[in-house]
């Protein structure tokens, strides 16, 4: 596919405004001003995509999205968690289409767009035979192209080889250490604590080739709980991480943002999925 013209800033501003309004809907479902502004943003995006940017996929998705927003505005649809999550997915995919490079696979990206359109139309009661309904499991993969390592030390280290600072040095030697966030949330009060125990936590963004990381970390099992998420892994893996860790999800989420392992949109979706466990299974993007 030929690279499209660089989107002018107003398209990105529209998308940012749309994302902000949809995120507001996640907190205030049915907020009419947000829906109205979102619809206006989508209409503008559809026009830009079709006339100026030459992005037919983006135009098609925006045109499928606008009627749903109008239905929401007219109260013909319930603005429930499932709907908001679908909106968030659409916004995420629109961002990918504008960036034109987040998705590695053109076919995968088109399939994701088609699936989203199919779901939008199905929700509006307008099944389109030209658009295949979603088939099989759908997976929304995060945009981050680095490994994410989440570590929680749980007590006495058996020696210098277990020292987290040494591990960081090894990671630095064997790849690119992109971000390290140190968490001291689990430190007990000093009176009830043996200072020789290590209770630090680390969130680490690390770019490294191949399957080496898992081998590298295999020895950590006895001194730390660790979780290694590969590049472009399903967003649900991060939802699981947020669910399993003891820190409040919003607080841990900010650390994942600081590592650039999740984007703001991905984090909002993950938090929404955590808050609505009975909602649809997290999402569906390419």
């Amino acid at each position: 596919m030929n690279a499209p013209a660089l989107p002018p800033i107003d398209s990105r501003q529209r998308l940012a405004a749309l994302a902000a309004r949809v995120q507001r809907l996640a907190k205030h479902p049915g907020d009419l001003p947000s829906i109205a502004i979102a619809a206006a943003c989508v209409r503008g995006l559809a026009r830009d995509a079709e006339r100026r940017l030459g992005l037919p996929d983006l135009a098609a998705l925006a045109m499928a999205l606008e009627p749903l927003l109008l239905q929401l505005h007219r109260r013909e649809q319930r603005c429930d968690a499932a709907t908001v999550m679908l909106l968030l997915e659409c916004v995420g995919h629109m961002g990918d289409l504008l960036d034109d490079g987040v998705s590695h696979d053109e076919a995968e990206r088109r399939a994701r767009g088609a699936r989203l359109q199919g779901r939008l139309l199905a929700l509006q009661g307008r099944a389109d035979p030209g658009i295949a309904p979603p088939t099989g499991p759908q997976v929304w993969r995060v945009a981050a192209n680095h490994w994410h390592l989440s570590l929680r030390y749980r007590g006495r280290l058996s020696g210098p080889k277990d020292d987290p600072l040494r591990l960081l040095q090894v990671l630095q030697q064997q790849g690119e250490l992109r971000a390290v966030e140190v968490l001291d949330d689990a430190l007990p009060s000093p009176e009830a604590f043996d200072p020789r125990d290590c209770r630090l936590g680390f969130e680490i963004a690390w770019a490294a080739p191949g399957d080496g990381p898992a081998v590298l970390l295999a020895g950590l099992g006895s001194v730390a709980d660790w979780c290694l998420l590969p590049p472009r892994c399903p967003l649900t893996d991060y939802v699981d991480l947020l669910r399993r860790r003891p820190e409040p999800p919003t607080r841990l989420g900010e650390r994942l943002l600081a590592c650039a392992s999740l984007s703001r949109l991905e984090l909002d979706y993950a938090l929404a999925a955590l808050a609505h466990p009975c909602g649809p299974p997290p999402p569906s993007a390419g």
């Binding site: 600072l165 140190v182 430190l187």
Partner: protein, 107 residues
């Protein structure tokens, strides 16, 4: 580890030297807590004389920061020696300390 406290401009500078590691963590904690209890105003850690630090040492410094907050004062991270700076560099220690202080204040 050795600790020297020096009052300067309404703040107390805590100069650490030697090694701040798991091996001497208990003694180091006692010294730090005593220095914090005796300090006037906010405190600053000067690690330029420290030769070695490990994760337990870093954890002790973060605990000291929490302890200072409980006492209603701030504990800032000041100068680092070359070796300690190299060991802590991946953790961005100054940002880590500042963020932790902000969190503590927010709480």
């Amino acid at each position: 580890m050795k600790l020297l406290a020096e009052c300067r401009d309404n703040r107390t500078v805590l100069r650490l030297s030697g090694a701040l590691t798991a091996a001497g963590a208990s003694a180091a904690q006692r010294q730090l807590w005593a220095a914090l209890a005796a300090a006037a105003g906010d405190c600053e850690l000067d690690l330029s004389g420290l030769r070695r630090i490990d994760a337990i040492g870093l954890q002790l410094l973060l605990l000291a920061r929490q302890q200072a907050l409980r006492q209603g004062r701030r504990l800032h991270l000041g100068r680092l020696g070359i070796a300690v700076g190299r060991s802590l560099a991946p953790c961005r220690p100054h940002a880590c300390f500042a963020a932790a202080t902000d969190d503590g204040q927010a709480a």
